[in-house]
């Protein structure tokens, strides 16, 4: 069993006092394994973003510990947090949060600068990342000139630029159409599986359940595991049996697939 990348214990965040006191996050324990995709869902205002902020070292918990690299980041001073944010964590925001005064390549490069890369190194890595994501012809465009999907890809490039251990994504598909949403999902999955990066996603989007290894439900500040998900034998994606696109009954067992394509693949292999 590989060591958890992030280990949170007793995480609590309380807002307000007295009569208006509310626990946005109440006594949450959570371990994040390398290469794992964790999806946190829940009703609006349930504290999902608060939990994400704390795990990513952006928000100080009212109580609890968050262990990263053996250090409890919840008790660190603000001055000590930037290095975690720069090197160990990556962020993808709902509104993309690109700097409007910088070009696409500069937006990624700035993330690299913050991580310690400079000059040519930063520039080249920035080009590479954006080219891989299909933005090779958009390098010097400003965010205003980019579509939503393109902006998200720049944001993803920026988030992964410093090879973080964990990428936190806040509603990554909320402002995208279905095609780009699917694109984003594919990229996140690739990130987790090919680079061993942990991906923590907070979202309402049910589609994201298809790529998640674990789906957690946050309600009233408390975290619960979603009811059992099964794995597509062809591509390995986790799916909710109730919403599988293809099903196969064989040898007394039922197999669920993310798509007919995977089912046919399975059938051919079995043949």
């Amino acid at each position: 069993m590989t060591d958890a990348v992030v280990r949170a214990r007793g995480l609590t965040k309380t807002f307000g006092a007295g009569e208006t006191r509310v626990d946005a996050v109440a006594n949450v324990d959570l371990d994040l394994a390398p290469g794992e995709i964790v999806l946190i869902m829940g009703p609006s205002g349930s504290g999902k973003t608060t939990l994400l902020s704390m795990l990513g070292g952006l928000l100080r918990p009212s109580a609890g510990t968050i262990e990263v690299d053996g250090i409890d980041i919840a008790s660190l001073a603000e001055n000590d947090l930037p290095r975690f944010r720069a090197r160990r964590f990556g962020f993808i925001f709902q509104d993309f949060n690109l700097l409007s005064a910088l070009s696409a390549e500069e937006n990624v490069a700035v993330g690299l600068n913050v991580g310690g890369a400079r000059g040519r190194d930063a520039r080249e890595r920035s080009y590479d990342l954006l080219r891989v994501l299909g933005l090779g012809k958009r390098l010097s465009f400003s965010p205003e000139q980019l579509s939503g999907g393109e902006k998200q890809r720049v944001a993803i490039a920026r988030a992964v630029a410093n090879d973080p251990a964990v990428v936190f994504a806040d509603e990554p598909t909320a402002n995208l159409d279905s095609a780009h949403g699917a694109e984003t999902m594919r990229l996140l999955r690739q990130l987790a599986k090919e680079h061993d990066t942990t991906v923590v996603i907070v979202s309402h989007d049910q589609r994201l359940r298809e790529i998640a290894d674990r789906v957690l439900w946050l309600e009233d500040g408390r975290l619960k595991a979603m009811s059992a998900l099964v794995r597509d034998p062809s591509c390995g994606m986790l799916i909710d049996p109730a919403q599988a696109r293809a099903r196969l009954h064989r040898d007394g067992a039922t197999f669920y697939f993310c798509s007919r394509g995977c089912m046919h693949e399975y059938e051919e292999e079995a043949a």
């Binding site: 973003t49 994400l52 902020s53 990513g56 952006l58 928000l59 603000e78 001055n79 930037p82 290095r83 975690f84 944010r85 720069a86 090197r87 964590f89 962020f91 925001f93 709902q94 509104d95 949060n97 700097l99 409007s100 005064a101 910088l102 070009s103 390549e105 500069e106 490069a109 700035v110 993330g111 600068n113 913050v114 991580g115 400079r118 000059g119 040519r120 930063a122 520039r123 010097s140 465009f141 400003s142 000139q145 920026r158 806040d170």
Partner: protein, 381 residues
């Protein structure tokens, strides 16, 4: 074509010039801030330049005269000073050993009525052929006979006076025989006449206000001062340069108060404009700054962005302000030459130092805002 950002102009350290990009992203706003700072800087430069110019003007006459001046006991100024020396005293001064030449002059402030206005001037009456008269003539000649005057040419131009014009003055008709150059000032332009004329106007025949002493060759001015002071009773002999600096101190001192008040106000304006411009920028982009913090930018580097922003406005404002001041100085020299504005490198250097203080002060409020900015706000829309 989409707007491109140059790949070549990154900072020397090799990182993305975020502050620079942000400054340039809103050029009209930057222009207005820079303009306001520039206006304040121009004001400060012009005021201090005017003060220096006034000092230069008031000492013009003395700078062209012999190194020693003798007046009635207690005389320490050329301007604002009454002094009466009798003919006998003048003769005594001339006889002192070490004195090569002693030229008497009768001078004093005089209001010339021109075009219904009272124009302040300094009227200098000298003996024709002796020291104390005009040193540069643009038109005509120096006064020789009773009732003749030579007038500063800038003054003459302003009031349409020419060689040959007759000016009624204190009961006499004075005729302009020459126009002088290098003698202007907005408070102390020079008018030359014969000493006899000046004495007649004052109803004090035979007297002199001051005696301009040229030491004999080999005699130092200080020695001449001593000699006259020892030998002649009832007079004060001084170095001309001392009188000049006293005059400068007197006039400049009088205006120091108002000038300092104006400079203080202008400085406050400069700081405020920088502060406002940077603060507005920072608040507008607070989401982006929160993002940078979330990406892991240290607080120090975030604050450095603010420092760059403030410095840029200050430096650009300084440069533009200096440019405006230089242009304004030239303009004034052409259009209103009676005002002399003297810009010195020292004043400009002092202002440059002050500008960095402005930038620092202006960056305080925005820096405080950014330091407290919660990176978690990057996640809120």
């Amino acid at each position: 074509m989409p707007p491109t950002t140059s790949r070549l102009r990154w900072t020397p350290s090799g990182s993305v010039p975020v502050a620079r990009r942000q400054l340039v992203a809103n050029p009209s706003k930057l222009a207005v801030s820079v303009l306001a700072v520039a206006a304040a800087i121009t004001l400060v430069l012009l005021l201090s330049g005017l003060r220096r110019g006034m000092g230069d003007h008031v000492t013009t006459y003395l700078r062209h005269e012999p190194p020693v001046v003798v007046g009635q006991t207690g005389t320490r100024n050329f301007l604002s000073q009454s002094s009466v020396l009798t003919a006998a005293t003048v003769a005594q001064i001339a006889r002192v050993r070490g004195v090569a030449d002693a030229s008497p002059i009768t001078e004093g402030s005089s209001m010339f009525p021109l075009h219904g206005k009272r124009v302040p001037t300094v009227l200098v009456g000298f003996d024709p052929g002796r020291r104390g008269g005009p040193w540069a003539l643009r038109n005509g000649r120096a006064p020789r006979a009773f009732g003749e005057i030579a007038v500063d040419r800038v003054l003459a131009q302003e009031h349409g006076l020419r060689v040959g014009t007759v000016v009624p003055f204190r009961g006499r008709q004075l005729r302009i025989v020459g126009l002088t150059s290098g003698t202007s000032g907005f408070m102390t332009p020079l008018v030359f006449t014969t000493r006899a004329t000046a004495n007649a106007l004052n109803e004090q025949p035979g007297t002199a206000t001051l005696v301009l002493v040229t030491p004999a060759s080999g005699v130092a001015p200080a020695a001449a001062v001593q000699a006259v002071g020892r030998s002649v009773p009832g007079v004060s002999a001084r170095l001309t340069s001392v009188l000049a600096s006293n005059d400068r101190a007197l006039l400049v001192g009088a205006f120091s108060g108002p000038l300092t008040a104006m400079i203080a106000i202008a400085s406050i304006v400069a700081v405020m404009v920088i502060a406002m411009s940077v603060y507005a920028e920072v608040r507008e982009r607070s989401h982006e700054y929160a993002t940078l913090k979330a990406l892991g930018m240290t607080r120090r580097n975030v604050l450095r962005l603010v420092a760059v922003d403030a410095s840029a406005v200050a430096i650009l404002g300084l440069a533009l302000g200096i440019g405006f001041a230089v242009a304004a100085t030239r303009l004034v020299a052409t259009l209103a030459p009676k005002y002399l504005i003297v810009l010195t490198l020292r004043d400009i250097a002092a202002l440059a130092v002050a500008s960095s203080a402005f930038a620092l002060l202006g960056a305080l409020a925005p820096a405080r805002f950014l330091a407290r900015l919660d990176p978690a706000t990057a996640l809120h829309s």
